[in-house]
Symmetry: C2
Subunit: 342 residues, 2 copies
């Protein structure tokens, strides 16, 4: 039961969180709001974090600079947007043929992931926390069918940053187009294909109206993690209680975002298919070509970037063991259930 009250002094703190996402993406943007609400609730409103959509405080892809400089105390973003600074960032979110959602979380929490990335981010004044995952993304919307690697030659494909390096090796032409302009580019044929996230988010952008073929899997994003980046000085200035609250609130938001996607995607998929979308699996030949190109890229990066090599080697060993284990009881259970008449 409750003992007599103890008087304690806790500081009132206000932080700003710069999101890289638009408010309309309630799943991915919402993760930062779930986080901020828990921090506020756990501190009786004494620690308030206001969440700002991409572009409001700084450009959506300027948030690493913002946190590094202390312009904002924290940001909610995807590490792989920043592969231009260092390819190592990409591992933090998803790399082609990488870990799935559950495996990536395990590597961060109980493997070496969090430890290694804390070291890496130190140079950017960042303390990172896993704060969301989309699960395995879809392979995107295509105006024409993809029957072999030859169909990727010259394909103008809107695809997120780092994966474009593999697409280029396959002969495709990666395009960087902001979210708000993709639909029109696809409708006019300025681009041939686009990948975004999965059924729930994609449906909102309306791609199903201008591209009939919806491919899977998104082999470049088997489980894309979203991160909370906290400015190191701001974090270190927190009382220990608040540090623990930030950590647990980020964990809650991390798991809750995956749950949001897992609840919303099935309903959106059913609506899309009912509306005429054609679900297609990438042919084996395309998967194999992409796998080879990815492993070639990783070898190049191992040879040229010691920061990449240090993290990738640990990640790759974990990936090998995780898939060894998952192929038995997890895969057998899931495949039986997926084929069952439920």
């Amino acid at each position: 039961g409750a003992a007599p009250a103890i008087v304690s002094a806790q500081p009132a703190i206000r932080w700003r969180c710069a999101s890289s996402f638009p408010r309309a993406l309630d799943t991915i943007y919402g993760g930062a709001e779930v986080f901020a609400k828990f921090v506020s609730d756990a501190t009786g409103g004494r620690f308030q974090i206001s969440v700002h959509p991409g572009g409001e405080l700084m450009p959506a892809f300027g948030v690493v600079d913002g946190v590094q400089a202390g312009t904002v105390e924290c940001a909610h973003t995807c590490a792989y947007y920043f592969f231009g600074k260092d390819d190592t960032f990409a591992i933090g979110t998803a790399i082609p043929f990488g870990l799935n959602s559950r495996q990536l979380t395990a590597w961060y929490y109980e493997g070496n992931g969090l430890k290694l990335f804390r070291e890496f981010y130190d140079a950017y004044n960042i303390v990172n926390f896993p704060c969301g995952n989309s699960g395995a993304q879809m392979g995107g919307w295509y105006r024409k069918e993809i029957k072999s690697p030859a169909d990727l030659q010259g394909l103008k494909f809107r695809v997120g940053g780092f994966a474009g390096k593999v697409m280029s090796k396959l002969g495709a032409v990666p395009q960087m187009i902001p979210g708000g302009e993709i639909y029109q580019a696809l409708e006019r044929g300025t681009i041939d294909a686009v990948e975004w996230v999965g059924p729930y988010d994609d449906e909102k952008l309306g791609f199903q109206r201008v591209a009939p073929f919806y491919y899977y899997p998104g082999w470049w994003e088997g489980g894309a993690q979203i991160d909370l980046y906290v400015n190191k000085a701001a974090f270190n200035a927190l009382p220990n209680e608040y540090k623990a609250i930030v950590t647990a609130a980020a964990s809650h938001a991390h798991t809750n975002m995956q749950a949001m996607y897992d609840v919303r995607n099935p309903q959106a998929l059913k609506r899309l298919v009912a509306g005429g979308t054609k679900l297609e699996a990438f042919p084996r030949s395309v998967m194999d070509a992409a796998f080879r190109a990815s492993m070639e890229l990783y070898k190049e990066l191992n040879d040229t970037n010691p920061r990449w090599k240090k993290i990738y080697e640990d990640y790759a060993a974990f990936r090998r063991d995780a898939n060894l284990w998952f192929r038995f009881t997890e895969a057998r259970f899931d495949s039986y259930m997926q084929a069952a008449r439920l």
Copy 2:
């Protein structure tokens, strides 16, 4: 930045948490310790929860009674141990051919799971929180091969509670034996087979020395959740800040336990196989017979237990949609990775 300190009064609170698990199971027992540590850290040590192994304060399977009566403020346990009170408890942990770990979390957090179970547990003075998951468990250790449903006839099988109902329908003879006595029973042939958890936990009990065949999947536990049960009056007496801290700390422990298993199981599996354990998949005929028996049981429970029916119908609809979605991009990505040369 930090504003001037505000004086606030927070009560000092001490709770006891009765675990149903022995301390030696560091993964599953450890989940309660992770939870308690976060609560302590987030409150500067003002809210202390001591964790007690099964049997220390009350019998391992007496913890629902203990929380209901307020003998302890909280417990860390598996709901399905209590199916003798009401079969509905089983859904809270795992039922044969139920949801996998990620799906169950999604159903609890963002589907109707938590809401429905909060209503159900109200009669037991319990406020529940997901607080761990083992992932898909293995199908257990067998002295002889299982080649068809006929091999289950008369099989003396040590199996956790509710799944025994399906085993009985299949002709097996379920045995309830405490953890500490299983090894000897299997060695002497008093029982023919035993299921426990998975490689990491099973290896500690040494079953590999007395039964050569290790089957998968554990179709009765596709993702077994562990719960934190809090006495309703104790929870309601907490300040709102502490309620939020308990919730976020439970979420952190929930996700962290799955990560613990996912990191430890692959290493244990490799050791077991290197030591001669024979990994075998249950034949399709056994899976199909078990699936039919399970669905028959659920129909009987729907017809006789309105509390079961209310929760199971929501759960089953979620299971259908979740597997519809998971069979595309998640399954295709995972199966490619599991077959790849990594």
